[in-house]
Subunit: 130 residues, 2 copies
DNA sequence: TAATGTAATTAGAATGATTCTAAAACGGCG
DNA sequence: CGCCGTTTTAGAATCATTCTAATTACATTA
């Protein structure tokens, strides 16, 4: 594991999760001013392929990187923001159901966060009022 | 619902799932030669926001669109290909666990498809042989 | 230590999916 | 018919990510 790989892994694991490549780049640059965005992507991809970090794709926003430790996510349908949530590990039961070996699973629960819910309500109020 | 929205919804629902915007565009163009890719995206986004279709983001490949009817997906870690899988509906138990209203959930099981597994094996064989 | 090969990094261009903008066309309604 | 909001068009623009080629660092062997 190279110097940058180590540092990037460290950043992903200690961040409050759901960090973008750009944010990682900014953080890394504080201690390594010469580093380049491509290096960040290279290492993120390597770490991801080696199963050391998670990559989370959400529609319409840049990919997020996350610690590997088991946990799931709430995704707001309005703003796309992610929130951690700890649910029971379902790997075994899922594997039993599908009948092929499962490396991992990615579970996103779609909901409306408070902010977006409030926003929708005010919109509807003003629109609905005659 | 406009003409194009209807047609695009029809295409998404009758396709064998996991279709890209580009593929929808190609298919739509057969009957509507004048149509433009932006129109496809406009309508897909509207349909998605209205909850009439699903949008599936997988790392590194263009977004896929899918019928809304409940089902889950296997995603190959190697090639990213999606396969439908029917698992029990877990909406209720998930909602009970998280304690907030869940609109829907998106479950992807990560595995190695047969092709990628075979490819990895041959690679490892040749690499491992002295 | 020098030489060598392999992998990592850099710089910057290129790609490609998606969105945006402004203008034109459409459709319903008074 | 003429007006207004919505939809579509055309094409430029954006922006995350990848690619290419050149350079550098590292590890190993001679």
């Amino acid at each position: 594991m190279t110097k940058y790989a180590k540092m990037i892994l460290e950043i992903v694991e200690t961040s409050r999760s759901h960090i973008t490549a750009e944010q990682i780049f900014d953080q890394l640059r504080r201690t390594c001013p010469g580093v380049v965005l491509a290096t960040v992507y290279n290492n993120l991809n390597r770490l991801w392929q080696d199963g050391l970090i998670r990559k989370i794709s959400v529609e319409g926003i840049p990919d997020r990187y996350d610690r590997i430790a088991r946990h799931d996510h709430l995704v707001c349908k309005g703003c796309g923001r992610l929130v951690d949530v700890d649910l029971n590990d379902m790997t075994e039961q899922l594997q039993r159901q599908v009948g092929v070996p499962i490396l991992s699973y990615d579970l996103k629960l779609v909901y409306w966060c408070e902010d977006c819910l409030a926003e929708r309500n005010t919109e509807n109020d003003s629109a609905g009022a005659p």
